[in-house]
């Protein structure tokens, strides 16, 4: 005997909880959680561990909600790219509206809890970051301009700022600097990836820099942003917001980042047989770079508090 389940709602027939979890882009979330936590730990002041955990949870859930909304909007584009075609929506594992509702529920819930438990300034910036990623980047900029990733990079730059504001309750120059560091880091990080997956973006009509301006211009811009990033990461040290542990680490890490970017920026692809090793190396290093840079900010704070 066979029984047909009720077909009255849009309950996804095949979606497992893992599919919903995959909608939140857990790998991207790792960096969001880490930078948010570093902002929180490096900030002057103290936040109760329960509230600190809540703040980080809200940042993570908010980022997950924005990622789900991004995948809801871009399901058709994702289906056309090798890198993204196995995501839950293009793979046909769930109804599109489920992803949308899931995204709105996570985003709204994260902002509400952040506001009630931590403060409404942190909640407002969290809401802005979700709007920035889900609307300004995904809907507006990404399909329209090759500068999409430059301005859209702001979305990923909010977490340390939110973490910092969760502790202090107000915006000062330092959280803005943390925002700017990730903002400036995003183009070389993402364009390194776009250089070795550019055929996919071209296929689905997304005007990524290598597709529109060409590979050479993209390589030059990678080098340009890396050159701007190095002095920017040293500003907290120069202004006395961070000590030598951070400053010297930022200098060493930044010089390495600049060297790898110069390698990518000044070379030319040798054609179809090019394995794009320098670009892949830069992409991998850029992730490590950001992790270590923010970790050093926290280490510097710990060292300073022991020295005081």
């Amino acid at each position: 005997m066979t029984i047909a389940p009720a077909q009255t709602s849009f309950t996804p027939l095949d979606a497992d909880w893992r599919d919903f979890f995959a909608l939140t882009k857990p790998r991207v979330m790792t960096l969001v959680i880490f930078t948010g936590l570093c902002g929180l730990l490096a900030a002057p002041g103290h936040l109760d561990p329960v509230l600190a955990f809540t703040a980080i949870l809200c940042i993570a859930v908010g980022a997950g909600g924005a990622a789900a909304l991004n995948q809801w909007w871009e399901a058709d584009i994702d289906a056309g790219m090798k890198r993204t075609r196995h995501r839950p929506l293009p793979a046909g594992k769930m109804e599109r509206t489920s992803a949308r509702d899931f995204g709105f529920a996570l985003s709204g819930g994260a902002v509400m809890v952040m506001g009630l438990a931590i403060g409404w300034l942190a909640a407002a910036i969290l809401a802005l970051s979700i709007f920035y990623y889900a609307w300004i980047y995904t809907v507006w900029l990404k399909p329209r301009t090759p500068q999409n990733i430059v301005i859209g990079g702001g979305a990923g730059a909010f977490p340390p700022m939110i973490g910092w504001i969760a502790v202090t309750g107000h915006i000062t120059l330092m959280p803005v600097l943390l925002f700017l560091i990730i903002f400036m880091w995003t183009p070389p990080h993402f364009w390194a990836l776009a250089l070795f997956v550019q055929t996919d973006y071209a296929k689905v009509g997304i005007p990524m820099m290598p597709v529109v301006a060409g590979e050479r211009a993209t390589r030059h811009q990678i080098l340009g942003y890396a050159a701007l990033l190095l002095p920017l990461t040293l500003v907290p040290w120069w202004l006395g917001f961070a000590g030598e542990v951070y400053g010297l680490s930022a200098l060493a890490l930044g010089l390495m980042f600049l060297a790898l970017s110069a390698w990518v920026g000044l070379r030319r692809s040798s054609g179809a047989g090019d394995t794009m090793k320098p670009e892949k190396r830069l992409f991998a290093y850029s992730i490590l770079y950001l992790f270590v840079l923010f970790a050093m900010l926290v280490v510097d704070r710990v060292v300073a508090s022991y020295g005081a």
Partner: protein, 71 residues
């Protein structure tokens, strides 16, 4: 996209459907339980912080007072 079939499901499909439904329900139960614990903990922390602030407001100079120091 998911195919919302009008045809009845085979026993194997139905079993897989039920298994996924159960896994989603369990995951949701875990999330709701975790939220209950989290909200309870937040409430306790908020009450404790407010009590501490009230105590500080009602005895503003208690710790800094020379009398308090000399007692």
């Amino acid at each position: 996209m998911t195919d919302f079939r009008s045809q009845p499901l085979s026993p194997a499909e139905l079993a897989a459907f039920r298994a996924r439904q159960k896994s989603r329900s369990r995951a949701l139960a875990v999330v709701l339980l975790a939220l209950v614990v989290l909200f309870f903990a937040i409430t306790i922390v908020k009450i404790r912080n407010q009590s501490a602030m009230r105590a500080a407001a009602s005895h503003p100079a208690a710790s800094a007072s020379p009398l308090a120091e000399g007692k």
